[in-house]
């Protein structure tokens, strides 16, 4: 009886077009957001921030990026890792060349660089579709990682292409590099994810998102409405790569501290893709839920035997993790192919009727 639209007449299209038309939703989301900004820095341990919350936020951003391309625009991409690498190496080059430039600006510029690269690799999408395109995006994955590995200029001639995040401050607080606290890094990642999730939501509920989905659902019908396929797909590749680029820069600067090219190998691309599929294609919220799932499951699997008092050899532990992880993915696809976002939606619909089923 408490959670429902009843009594909230949509007096105008403005409120009906809002992201959360239901007042309770708005309140809950705002509260959750406030809690996310205040809670963890005060309460969470270093381990929680570093091992769980920070990667979770960064992966969320990357998953939102990939979801724009794959979930909304329908272009399956396996090149996410490559675009994230572009962002990371661009941020490294930019901030070492111009140390005085604000690191937030550096992140955004790195995103733009990644967007440019994404545009180039999006060109084949005009001629090829589906799995052919997916395989073609692997070209970007392998080529980019190879490039950063081979051309020493990208890592300022460090051995084996390692890049390390230097200390950089925002408003006097160090947010990257060895002397940045986990809380500072967490808050930076959270702020970026919040802003970009909102931007993504605005894009997908408007003109741009509709042309993406139109191309995804029925390209010929989209064309006769005036959607230009190449421009629309390239925009999706560009924006998506921007998100992935920023996430890649964050991955090194806010999470890993330093990284080699291996950090961006094809495994990363699959990880992000899993977040999108398990979270829910075509859902911004789903991207975040997917990231939560993919980050938490391995941690749970690592800790579960321990909690049960089992002492497993490291290798065996790793193998069991792989098996359970793989099995869970298949299981989830069978249970709900449309992802966690869909489960969430169903729950909400049930809640709306509660306590009167129909």
């Amino acid at each position: 009886m408490i959670y429902r639209e009843a009594g909230q007449f949509k007096t105008s299209y403005a409120s009906d077009q809002a992201i959360f038309p239901i007042a309770q939703d708005r309140a809950v989301v705002l509260l959750a957001l406030a809690a996310a900004f205040v809670g963890p820095p005060l309460l969470a341990s270093e381990y929680w921030l570093q091992a769980i919350l920070i990667p979770l936020l960064i992966y969320s951003l990357a998953a939102i990026g990939l979801n724009l391309l794959t979930g909304y625009a329908g272009q399956l991409s396996l090149g996410t890792g490559g675009f994230m690498a572009v962002g990371a190496y661009a941020a490294f080059k930019l901030t070492t060349a111009f140390p005085q430039v604000s690191i937030v600006l550096v992140f955004l510029l790195s995103g733009l660089v990644a967007a440019g690269v994404g545009l180039v690799f999006g060109i084949p999408s005009l001629r090829i579709k589906g799995f052919y395109l997916a395989v073609a995006t692997l070209a970007s994955q392998f080529f980019l990682v190879w490039l950063f590995n081979k051309v020493a200029w990208f890592s300022n001639y460090a051995s084996s292409g390692t890049i390390t995040a230097p200390d950089r401050a925002v408003l006097g607080v160090t947010v990257t590099g060895p002397s940045a606290t986990a809380s500072a890094r967490y808050l930076t990642a959270l702020a970026l994810v919040t802003v970009f999730a909102l931007v993504a939501k605005n894009l997908v509920r408007g003109r741009v998102g509709r042309s993406w989905m139109a191309i995804r659902d029925r390209d010929i019908a989209a064309e006769i409405i005036g959607v230009r396929p190449l421009r629309t797909k390239l925009l999706a590749f560009g924006i998506s790569s921007f998100y992935c680029g920023v996430a890649g820069a964050e991955l090194v600067f806010l999470y890993l501290g330093s990284a080699e090219t291996q950090a961006f190998d094809i495994g990363l691309s699959f990880l992000i893709l899993f977040m999108v599929i398990i979270g829910g294609r075509g859902s911004i919220l789903g991207s975040v839920l997917g990231a939560v799932f993919i980050v938490l499951v391995p941690i749970f699997l690592t800790n579960a035997p321990h909690a049960l008092g089992l002492r497993l050899p490291v290798a065996l532990q790793k193998q069991i993790e792989l098996m359970v992880f793989g099995g869970l993915i298949v299981f989830f696809l069978i249970v709900e192919p449309r992802g966690l976002a869909r489960l969430w939606q169903i729950t909400k619909e049930k809640l709306r009727l509660w306590p009167f089923p129909h």
């Binding site: 081979k150 094809i266 899993f274 193998q319 298949v330």
Partner: protein, 312 residues
């Protein structure tokens, strides 16, 4: 500028002309690698044709087959028995996959099935290593890794055997699909599930059969590749190298997989040897993709596809 042009456009060719025996060696190496790619690509094509599934786990199936075989050999099982047992394992795997993964996901979108095979990929990787151990293993099938020289061209006996075996298997499979009743039926399913059902072959059987055949193909690829470079995790990555073959030859074309594999194998070797040093080497990882893409931009329908005008 002219220097660069010379290095890119002239020098490689004078190198080739300067040492034809070496060129032949490079080409043969390419053909060998190409046949292996064809073999793996065939595994993809078989499954894709019959069930529309882009089976990302093909590479791990290669690894899994090789691990199983090596594991049995290490325990003193004779080669023939070990091969038979491995085949049985792969068929059992096909049954399990059909029952546990494909059947519950029938009629789902292709991307969902694709994701499921990636899950399968993780599972098999963990499972294989848990059962057989994760260390690198030598696979000795009794063919010496020796070379002999014919007219100045060095030929590796192992590679030659592998290439011949691959060639035979590829031919057999091609014939199977073109000439036998069940082969033709399998092809029919790809085009139209209803049609296949109407000729009285249950979808279930068809899936088990193609996954079993793909499993056998994986054994052969695993043996060949494993004998060459040891059985280890990296075996599962050769699947990634077979993917450009699919772009080139098409996901559904058996001849496409064969010719595509050869083109990619040879193109990649020649590229690596003659042009690779210009950019610091190790271009094998992506060169094949770029090659396939460049080709596709010129001919979007692939090697053997017919140009079709999309119906509106």
């Amino acid at each position: 500028m002219t220097d660069l042009l010379y290095l890119v456009a002239v020098a490689p060719f004078t190198d080739m002309a300067g040492s034809p025996a070496f060129l032949v060696e490079v080409l043969l190496g390419g053909v060998f690698a190409g046949l292996m790619y064809s073999l793996v690509a065939l595994g993809f094509v078989l499954i894709f044709k019959a069930s529309g599934v882009f089976n990302f786990a093909q590479g791990v199936m290669v690894l899994f087959a090789a691990l199983t075989l090596v594991g049995l050999l290490e325990r003193g099982v004779p080669v023939v028995v070990a091969l038979a047992l491995t085949t049985a394992v792969m068929v059992a795997l096909a049954f399990a996959i059909e029952r546990l993964v494909l059947r519950p996901l029938v009629n789902q979108e292709h991307i969902i099935l694709f994701m499921a095979t990636i899950g399968l990929n993780f599972f098999l990787e963990g499972f294989g290593e848990m059962v057989w151990g994760a260390n690198v293993k030598r696979l000795d099938i009794g063919i010496p890794d020796r070379s002999f020289i014919v007219r100045g061209v060095q030929i590796n006996q192992l590679e030659l055997t592998a290439a011949l075996t691959a060639a035979v298997l590829v031919t057999v499979l091609a014939l199977f699909f073109q000439k036998t009743r069940i082969g033709r039926a399998l092809r029919a399913v790809a085009d139209d599930h209803e049609a296949a059902l109407s000729i009285g072959i249950p979808l279930k059987t068809i899936w088990v059969v193609v996954w079993s055949v793909a499993g056998v193909v994986a054994i052969v690829a695993g043996v060949m590749w494993g004998a060459k470079s040891g059985v280890q995790f990296s075996l599962s990555l050769i699947a990634l190298k077979a993917l450009p073959v699919l772009i080139l030859g098409g996901f559904e074309s058996v001849p496409g997989a064969i010719v595509g594999g050869l083109i990619i194998g040879v193109g990649e070797k020649v590229g690596e040897v003659y042009w690779g040093p210009l950019v610091g080497g190790a271009i094998e990882n992506w060169f094949a993709y770029v090659l396939a893409l460049a080709f596709l931009l010129a001919r979007p329908q692939g090697l053997f596809g017919e140009k079709i005008i999309e119906r509106v």
